[in-house]
Symmetry: C2
């Protein structure tokens, strides 16, 4: 046996690396999802490795509702719609008797939505079209500044998942470009995603309404029109990815069957791929729901995840914290 003193420099290097490298995912327990994420990032970023992916191709896509922030008791954008209908009511005296507005104003969301898709579309268009993009941006920003989550009383932008914020940071620190690909409205997310998630407007993909460029009193504006250009859900998600990004992602995170095709498209490409599903299992700290939920239903994804090698994150066991600490 050679003199073990020869190994000392190596041991010292290893020791100092361990001491120096802070845990990039401190709100993740040391269970299998965290280990799988780190193993994936290490192999695709290791130059010379068979799984190495050049920086420009490190595209990561994230669903928003239920993946980056909570989606219950209903999608937060739905609460925004409710609040906007109430705020706009004085300018629309006819809403007192006209459905679905009348029921919303009486606080009966269930009755309002009894009109099905048509009723929902009416409500969305009444609150999301007809104004300029600047005006809408201001409405969203003003609403977020004061609105509170009905259960926790916290601002909606604090109802984001701390482990996912860390994951976004960790991926970006490793050369990934992070995108949102959400069924939510693209213009509803853009005013705040940079501040909250570090994701700039040009990296937000979402359901998209029509836009029209025009001059108002000689001043150019872009007006939101009542039409749907992209329904960024299910089969629409790979379409949104291709339309806005033009590359196939190598990392996708979702939480519901609305994300199934995005996960499928991402993980069936060649080379190393990662699919992640946030499974809402924590009734105490957040919510517990899956196969039968009207919001964020996760059924097919639960069955398919093991077969397809997707990582299921069990919120209760895998996350040490859910939300950021109160400011």
């Amino acid at each position: 046996m050679k003199n073990p003193i020869h190994l000392m420099p190596l041991i010292l290097v290893a020791w100092s690396m361990q001491a120096g490298a802070a845990d990039p995912l401190p709100s993740w327990n040391d269970t299998s999802p965290k280990k799988a994420i780190i193993a994936f990032v290490e192999k695709v970023t290791k130059e010379g490795s068979a799984d190495f992916v050049p920086v420009p191709e490190r595209i990561a896509v994230f669903d928003n509702d239920g993946t980056l922030w909570t989606e219950l008791p209903e999608y937060f954008q739905g609460i925004f719609v409710n609040d906007r209908i109430k705020a706009m009511a004085p300018q629309h005296p006819e809403w007192k008797t006209e459905e679905p507005y009348a029921s919303i104003l009486k606080g009966d969301v269930k009755k309002a939505l009894a009109g099905g898709e048509k009723a929902l579309l009416d409500l969305v268009m009444a609150t999301h079209a007809g104004m300029t993009t600047d005006e809408f941006d201001k409405q969203v920003t003003d609403w977020l500044a004061t609105a509170k989550h009905p259960k926790t009383g916290r601002p909606f932008t604090e109802m984001v998942f701390q482990p996912m914020l860390e994951l976004l940071d960790y991926l970006r620190a490793n050369g990934f470009k992070t995108f949102i690909v959400s069924g939510g409205g693209i213009e509803f997310m853009r005013p705040w995603t940079e501040k909250v998630y570090g994701i700039p407007p040009e990296q937000v993909v979402g359901s998209t309404g029509g836009l029209k460029y025009e001059l108002r009193d000689g001043k150019p504006v872009i007006v939101k029109t009542p039409s749907l250009v992209l329904n960024d859900d299910k089969e629409g998600k790979p379409v949104g990815i291709q339309r806005h990004i033009g590359r196939r992602p190598i990392f996708a995170a979702g939480n519901s069957d609305g994300d199934f095709q995005m996960l499928e498209w991402t993980t069936t490409g060649s080379g190393a791929r990662f699919g992640l599903i946030v499974h809402h299992t924590d009734a105490e700290r957040e919510c517990a729901y899956d196969r039968k939920s009207p919001f964020g239903k996760l059924d097919k994804g639960l069955d398919e995840a093991p077969k397809r090698g997707w990582t299921l994150v069990n919120m209760k066991d895998d996350w040490a914290a859910i939300y950021p600490e109160k400011k």
Copy 2:
């Protein structure tokens, strides 16, 4: 008077800065456009100045045809369409007699296009729809590898303007994010813009056809469908900018009246803004055309540029070189 020796360090610093700073725009003559560009970049990047713009808001948009590369004798994508019709003809025996294909196959583009917009749309859809995005990407890449410009005999990807390549680099070196916003097809540009312009697929905006996600033999593909989701020209350009970028640019470059609204939208925002129009004035080294050209018509823009403070680049006088040196 104090001893001038005190000034020596300052003089030395100034001298060394001048010697050290390479000209960022060597293919631009020292005429007013170059000076205006540099003055603009210096003021918006100078921290503490009234015109300072934070890095994330330094969005620059560029038209492609006639702005970043030549657009005559016709749009290069039109030449691609012609070549594709000829390549596809053996699979379409009916095209021998069916217009507009029959005329294209006989080399009579003028007669083919006598059918107006319908004929053009038929040709575009026949060559741009029905295949997967991967297949189309390969068709464009293969075509560019062998096709040559009819006048110069150079590959189309070498028919790009050297001064504009330098401008793109210069803006990026100063924290700008550069985007293409072109009337050309988004999927036609994405396969090569990163290599040629340093602009990645996710920063390319263009006219956009429909897409459909589906499984073929159990394998997911995205298929191009014969519909138009965005006509990224004139009023469509600010719409494309909002849809894909979600921020108002502070720098826009174009060359035709198809870029008018993009320049207007960019330069009427608050704070420092820059509008640039490439005026094709060099019949000898490139082409000379403006108000009466069927391609890249520049009429309103010529009249409005001085009133709106847009910088007109006179290709003949302001550019020391047109194309990159032959490889």
